[in-house]
Structures are given as structure tokens and as C-alpha cells.
């Protein structure tokens, strides 16, 4: 228990340092751009493919039940609400925790093990600002964008599946998909992924940056980054959903 509290304290301190350093020069614009490409652009194929497959599968599963209750016309609506409110943000975050979180943990741990971080410090460069802050910022900026791609690729998958079953037109599918959507169904769930991005970046960078176990530490940092950030994302999701319901009570059923 004491170790858990100690861990929470250290990660929180690490996160606060990220926020503090973010607003103090020098601002690492070049590094942030580099990391955005690494975190965002390189994750895009995974997010698009996963969203499309998930959208297709979800329509497979929901179709028979919806048709049985005479609600076949509601399939696009259900698909859109499910993806925009919950599936898109959560799955995009978990995918990113796997792909990017493990990468950040492993890269920083390797840099620690091979003295690259000491090398940066020896050049009078603040290694925390240079390595950690840009990675966290990139995760915060990239995740809402990737979530949008996940949402729309999920709808695309749903459309293909529904078209195969009922020959629905694209226009009608889109009209039905967004018939019940409000901005409050779209903006808060998408923006909450910025918090997920902060969790992924901070937790993964913490495990990588603070390890001191050589090659063994690289593997441990990668594993711990994925496990802990995934767990924290799900826990944070519960809290954030309650917050969204508090601010937008019409979203709560």
C-alpha cells in the first residue's frame, strides 16, 4: 500500500513538472513536431483499420436484435452514438497506450540505459524538457485527432456492413447516423481523450525516464507503460463521464 501511494506521488510530481515546464521557455517546438509525427501520423493506419473493423463487427452484432424489434432504421444512429460517445475515445486511447505508450517507455528506458540522457544533460540541455515534455504534449494533441479518425472509420465500417445487408445509400446512412447527435455528444467525449493522452504520455515517460535497470529496465518500462496507462485510462473514463454528465445533464439517460 505504501509503495502504491509512493508511486502515485512520484507520477503526480512527474506530471506536475511536465505542466510546469510546458509553460516555461525554451519551448521545444521542433521536438513536439517530431513527436507528433511519431505519435499521430504513425498511429493513423492502426486507428483507421481498427475503427473500420470494429464498426463492421458492431453492426454485425447489433443488426439482428435491432431488426427483431423493428428498429433496423436506428442502426446508423446507434452506431454513431456508440462510437462518438464511448467506443471511439476509449478504443483509440487503449490502442495508443499499446502502440505509443510502450514505445515511449522503451525508447526513454533505452536512452537511460545507453547514457543518452546523461549525454543530453552533459550538453547543458534539460533532458526532461527535451525528451519528456514534447512526448506528453504530442500525446495530448494527437489523441483527440486520432479519436475523430476512429469515430469516422467506425461509421465507414458500419456503413459497409449495413450496405451489404440492406443496400442502404450513403446519404441515408449519414442522415440517420447524425439524426440524434448533439454537439454535447461529440465535443466533450472527444476532448476528454486529451486527458487520456496526458495519462499515456506521463505514465509511459515516467517509467522510461526514471528506470535504472539497464536492458531489463527497457522491457519492464514498456510493459508497465501499457498496463498502468491502460488501467488509468479506464479509471479516468469513469470519472470523466460523470463530469460530462454533470456539465451536460441532458447526456445522462
Amino acid at each position: 500500500m505504501i509503495k502504491l501511494i509512493e508511486f502515485v506521488g512520484k507520477v503526480s510530481q512527474f506530471g506536475f513538472r511536465v505542466i510546469f515546464d510546458l509553460f516555461h521557455p525554451p519551448f521545444e517546438a521542433g521536438q513536439i513536431g517530431r513527436q507528433l509525427a511519431e505519435v499521430g501520423a504513425k498511429s493513423l493506419p492502426l486507428v483507421l483499420a481498427s475503427g473500420f473493423a470494429l464498426g463492421t463487427v458492431m453492426t454485425f452484432h447489433t443488426r439482428s436484435t435491432m431488426v427483431m424489434f423493428g428498429a433496423g432504421a436506428m442502426i446508423p444512429t446507434v452506431q454513431a452514438i456508440a462510437f462518438f460517445i464511448e467506443i471511439g475515445p476509449l478504443v483509440a486511447a487503449l490502442l495508443l497506450a499499446g502502440r505509443v505508450g510502450s514505445g515511449i517507455g522503451a525508447v526513454l528506458a533505452n536512452m537511460r540505459a545507453t547514457e543518452q540522457i546523461d549525454g543530453i544533460e552533459s550538453l547543458s540541455i534539460d533532458s526532461f524538457k527535451f525528451l519528456v515534455v514534447p512526448r506528453v504534449v504530442a500525446c495530448v494533441l494527437a489523441l483527440p485527432l486520432l479519436t475523430l479518425f476512429m469515430d469516422f472509420s467506425g461509421l465507414a465500417g458500419g456503413f459497409v456492413s449495413e450496405y451489404a445487408a440492406s443496400r442502404i445509400t450513403l446519404h441515408l446512412y449519414i442522415v440517420r447516423a447524425f439524426a440524434e447527435m448533439a454537439w454535447s455528444n461529440f465535443i466533450p467525449p472527444t476532448l476528454k481523450t486529451a486527458v487520456f493522452g496526458f495519462i499515456i504520455g506521463t505514465v509511459s515517460a515516467f517509467f522510461g525516464y526514471t528506470t535504472n535497470k539497464g536492458a531489463q529496465g527497457v522491457g519492464e518500462a514498456a510493459t508497465n507503460s501499457v498496463v498502468v496507462s491502460s488501467l488509468l485510462i479506464i479509471l479516468a473514463d469513469v470519472v470523466l463521464i460523470k463530469c460530462i454528465f454533470f456539465v451536460f445533464p441532458e447526456n445522462a439517460l
Binding site: 525508447v107 536512452m111 545507453t114 547514457e115 546523461d118 547543458s124
Partner: protein, 259 residues
């Protein structure tokens, strides 16, 4: 005279000292393991000190204490007449600019090309234009014989090339003090000799103070003006090669004669 005044006068004397590096009763432990015990020595500016000793006797820790990557548990360290032991990060940053560090495995940033590795400190710490940075990088890479390899990634370099690239990065800011951690380890005799030549040239042509941790006694005797021998965290011998050869400590005598 009060103890406080005595301490102040002593500190002023250290500040006026011409030594590039002063270790004063420095101790360092990692958990229960005492790595350095009450170590004191001075290195005059423009000279080369070679630190010898068995593995795990605190040689690399001495270098990391010098550049303040580690803090001593006790004692004081002076670099170019500034006491670094209690400095804050912002002040340390200024002192570190006077030093270059060649790490044991070069510690090049593996996501950057060789050119970018060298250009990074110039972009961050100087006001040089892009053209000046290009010229400086070309000059330093030329000095270490890597003029045609600047677009290569560190992973594409051989062991000897990585060492030379690490040395180039350590030299790119024209440091007053060069620290090298086992610059010839894992290299063949010819490549090791080339690295030694570069260190000697840096000392003689640029009057750089050079501090080298090494197991290569042959190379150390070529490069070093003074020698420090560590054994189990203690500094057991310090002085010129002749003085260490006459040392009372058997380990020191054996080490300095092994070439």
C-alpha cells in the same frame, strides 16, 4: 580567527587556484556500497590526468561527479574555479558548457544523424547561424576523420567510428575540459591509438584539460601527464608516471607498469 573566516579564506584560495579541477575530500556511496572514499586531487589547466584502476572502483563515478551528473555525499568539487557541489541546475548548465564528455559507448542520440548529433548543442547553446553551424560540424567531423559520414545514423557506425563521433560531439563546443570515459575500450590497437592521438592533439593544440578514465595503460602513458590510481574507492596513488611507479601501493605500481 574564527572557523567561519578560515573556511571563507580557504574558499577564496580555491577560487584563485589555477587548477582546472579540484576534488576535496569527496565521498560517494550507492546504498551500502562506498564507491569513493575521501578522494582529493587537483588537475592543473592544460594537463592530462589518466585515471586507472580495476573495474568498479569509482573511476567513471569520478567523471560523473565532475560534470555533476551525480552529487557527492561529502566533500567539494571545483571546476574552472567554481564550486559545483551546491550549484543549482541553471548555474550548472553554464559550467557544463565548459566541459565535453565522451561516454564509454559514445551515447550518441540514435534517432539523430551524426550531423544532427553535433549540430544540436550548437543550435541550442550558441548564437551561430546555420552556415556557421554547418562549417563547425564539418570542421570537427573532419578532425576525427568522419567528414564523409555526417548523414549516417549512429547505428550504421562501427565501434571505432562511434567513439570518434562521440569525441567530435564532446569537442564541438570547444570545451576547456574534456572528460573521456574509457575512450579506447573495445577498440583494436590501431583505432585506440588514433583516439589517443586526438586526445593528445586536443591537449597540445587547444590547451584543453583532459581527464581520461582508462584500462589501457599503454595509451594512458602516451596521453597522461599525471595519473590517479583508484582501488576499492580509495585514491591509492597520484602523480607523474615516475611517482606512481615509486608508490608504496602495490596495486598502483603493478597497474602503471602493465604495458
Amino acid at each position: 580567527m574564527s572557523e567561519e573566516n578560515k573556511a571563507e579564506i580557504k574558499a577564496e584560495n580555491k577560487a584563485e587556484n589555477k587548477a582546472a579541477v579540484v576534488f576535496e575530500h569527496v565521498s560517494k556511496a550507492f546504498g551500502p556500497k562506498q564507491v569513493l572514499r575521501d578522494v582529493s586531487f587537483e588537475v592543473p589547466a592544460g594537463q592530462a590526468l589518466c585515471i586507472l584502476g580495476r573495474s568498479g572502483t569509482g573511476k567513471s563515478v569520478t567523471l560523473k561527479l565532475l560534470i555533476s551528473l551525480l552529487k557527492p555525499d561529502q566533500g567539494k568539487i571545483w571546476v574552472d574555479r567554481e564550486e559545483v557541489t551546491r550549484m543549482k541546475e541553471a548555474e550548472l548548465s553554464k559550467v557544463r558548457r565548459k566541459m565535453g564528455f565522451l561516454f564509454q559507448d559514445a551515447a550518441l542520440f540514435d534517432s539523430l544523424t551524426l550531423y544532427e548529433n553535433l549540430a544540436l548543442p550548437l543550435q541550442r547553446l550558441t548564437n551561430k547561424t546555420l552556415e556557421e553551424i554547418d562549417a563547425t560540424v564539418d570542421k570537427v567531423l573532419g578532425q576525427v576523420g568522419l567528414g564523409n559520414d555526417k548523414k549516417k545514423m549512429p547505428g550504421a557506425l562501427s565501434g571505432g567510428m562511434r567513439k570518434r563521433a562521440g569525441l567530435a560531439r564532446a569537442l564541438v563546443l570547444e570545451p576547456k575540459i574534456l572528460l573521456a570515459d574509457e575512450p579506447s575500450s573495445g577498440l583494436d590497437r590501431i583505432t585506440a591509438s588514433e583516439i589517443d592521438e586526438l586526445l593528445i592533439r586536443q591537449k597540445t593544440e587547444h590547451q584543453t584539460t583532459v581527464i581520461v578514465v582508462t584500462h589501457d595503460v599503454h595509451g594512458a602513458r602516451r596521453v597522461g601527464d599525471r595519473f590517479a590510481v583508484f582501488d576499492k574507492g580509495d585514491l591509492v596513488a597520484f602523480g607523474t608516471a615516475a611517482e606512481v611507479e615509486q608508490s608504496e601501493n602495490e596495486t598502483a605500481r603493478k597497474l602503471i607498469s602493465e604495458y
